[in-house]
């Protein structure tokens, strides 16, 4: 249960697939145009409810409540072993001397 004034993330379909720009590649034409934004919840609600939020600029946006206290999950990703190979090679070429 989310409380009024919680900081939340909402989702909404802006244009259904049928309502989209007619000049789209086939794959894009098959899917709707979707939108996400964040704001302060305007009334108590449950995840999945249709809600209103007040965004950082004070706009009122409508959408489905999907997350309370939304946080970032992007990172430096899984290790990519090739990168240390590049480092080794570069140092060898530049500082390794003539072998």
């Amino acid at each position: 249960m989310a409380k009024k004034n919680d900081w939340v993330r909402i989702h909404r379909v802006v244009l259904p697939a049928e309502g989209r720009n007619p000049n789209l590649p086939e794959d894009t034409a098959k899917v709707p145009l979707e939108m996400w934004t964040k704001g302060f919840l305007q009334a108590d609600a449950e995840i999945g409810d249709e809600v209103e939020v007040k965004t950082a600029t004070g706009r009122i946006e409508k959408g489905t409540l999907i997350e309370v206290n939304p946080h970032y999950t992007h990172s430096y990703g899984e290790f990519v072993p090739e990168l240390v190979q590049i480092d080794t090679q570069l140092r060898e070429i530049l500082f390794g001397g003539e072998k």
Binding site: L15, N21, L33, M35, R59, G77, V80, L83, Q89, L94
Partner: protein
């Protein structure tokens, strides 16, 4: 009475919404024929370059250092013929408040919005420009909304773009994120109409005039430090504002012998509006998917006439591959102790190869670096590629590179090469598109002269191209 907010109605009010959102009437620059008065558009900012410098320095923008990349220069010389291998320099634009040269563009746009009495600013961008506008809006006390194309239809976001959203939110902006598609413009217009905010377009004269200081500083700093202008300045090119503004600034500084080279990552074959291709890209800007269409047809942006007109200024347009840019980004960190974001290193990758064409006593300068961080770094970008089924391996990028299928890291630095795009063909393509838009090949002398300037060619070239096209 509430206005209808459906797609067709909002798009139908485009001109009116834009006029209100920029306080600039583009009609007054039109000739009524094909041509328009580009220099008058640029002059409409009302700022001299000195005034722009003042506006920028008031918020800590500009005056970034030039770094001399000694080890990368030494490395490039190993692959050049004797006596060749220009010194590689880079303008460290990452040291701008928002982490990229886009701060220059945003500084002027946001200052103008404030002067005109707008309460807020908006920009449609998934890139560094969003962060730049948000940062400037924070400093100048305006509200800010950034609209991003960020996710595919499965809700999977490009890590680089998600990081940009975080940065915008850190500066207090509202970020509206969308799935793939050009209808982003509809959402953008609709919010612009509701809020009455200023459209801080990437392509406004304020924005491009803001980049002129970059070119100007390059000339001044090089003269002071090295006693001469760089032989080449390489600009990472997408919408063409970097190339245009930098070249104009160099010209204003009198650096007319410096050759301006545009560089983009080759993403041939990946459709920019495709939902499935979206996350097969491993870079989100500085690539040919933007660079080529904007060079040959600048007027398809969010303003009636783009102030970014790169074909006027570039002498060559070269491409490099994603794998080469990743490699050079790693090299910059590992050999120079400078960790910067990959998109900004597109020009550095090209410069590494181009330096080998120039004598040792010349200088080749890359116009920028950009910040790096979680998501926006070669490690997560390569990891994301791998998760999306892109093959990553060492090889010869010039023969094996297939955007969307693989990323070929050069086997060794000798495999880092530029490819020259056919610039003559690009000029022809520009003329063809301009005539098509105009609806006729019958154009008068003024328009021929205009096309010659637009394509950095001659009236004779324009005439012979039109003759060819007529057949």
């Amino acid at each position: 009475m509430a206005l209808a907010k459906d797609y067709a109605s909002v798009m139908g009010r485009n001109n009116e919404i834009m006029k209100n959102a920029m306080g600039l009437d583009y009609d007054k620059f039109e000739s009524g024929k094909m041509s328009f008065d580009y220099e008058a558009l640029m002059a409409s900012t009302g700022y001299t370059i000195e005034e722009i410098m003042k506006v920028q320095s008031a918020t800590g923008v500009g005056n970034t250092p030039i770094l001399e990349l000694r080890n990368l220069t030494a490395l490039a010389r190993k692959y050049a013929k004797p006596g060749y291998g220009a010194t590689i320099l880079v303008k460290d634009e990452a040291s701008n408040p928002s982490g990229s040269f886009k701060a220059r563009r945003a500084a002027c746009a946001v200052a103008t919005a404030k002067k005109m009495g707008y309460k807020g600013v908006m920009a449609a961008t998934s890139g560094n420009y969003g962060a730049a506008v948000a940062s400037q809006a924070a400093m100048q006390g305006l509200k800010c909304i950034i609209v991003q194309e960020c996710f595919d239809s499965k809700g999977v976001g490009q890590p680089e773009i998600i990081e940009k959203a975080r940065k915008c939110e850190a500066y207090g902006a509202e970020v509206v994120q969308l799935t793939v598609g050009p209808e982003l413009f509809y959402t953008f217009l609709s919010i612009l109409e509701d809020t009455g905010y200023f459209n801080a377009s990437l392509y406004s004269p304020f924005g491009i005039a803001g980049v002129e200081t970059l070119g100007y500083e390059i000339a001044m700093q090089c003269r002071e430090k090295y006693g001469k202008d760089p032989a080449m300045v390489v600009c990472t090119s997408a919408g063409g504002g970097m190339m245009t503004g930098t070249a104009r600034g160099l010209i204003k500084a009198g650096a007319t012998d410096t050759k301006c080279i545009a560089a983009s990552i080759d993403l041939t074959g990946l459709h920019m509006a495709s939902d499935t291709a979206f996350n097969k890209k491993s870079c989100t800007t500085g690539h040919t998917g933007f660079g080529v269409p904007y060079a040959v047809d600048p007027d398809h942006s969010d303003v009636p006439r783009s102030a970014a007109r790169p074909l006027r200024y570039m002498e060559r347009y070269v491409t490099v591959t994603q794998g080469e840019v990743m490699y050079i980004t790693e090299a910059l960190a590992n050999l120079e102790g400078v960790e910067r974001g990959p998109a900004g290193n597109t020009s550095l990758t090209a410069a590494f190869a181009l330096a080998q064409e120039l004598p040792e006593d010349e200088y080749i300068l890359c116009s920028e670096t950009e910040y790096t961080g979680a998501g926006k770094h070669i490690q997560p970008q390569l990891a994301f590629a791998r998760e999306n089924g892109i093959e990553i391996k060492f090889g010869d990028p010039s023969v094996e590179d297939k955007p969307g299928v693989n990323i070929i890291l050069p086997k060794d630095p000798s495999y880092i090469k530029t490819k020259d795009m056919d610039i003559v063909h690009m000029r022809e393509s520009f003329i063809k598109k301009a005539c098509k838009k105009y609806g006729s090949f019958d154009i008068d002398e003024d328009d021929i002269e205009f096309l010659a300037v637009e394509t950095n060619s001659t009236p004779e070239f324009v005439k012979s191209t039109i003759e060819k096209l007529k057949k």
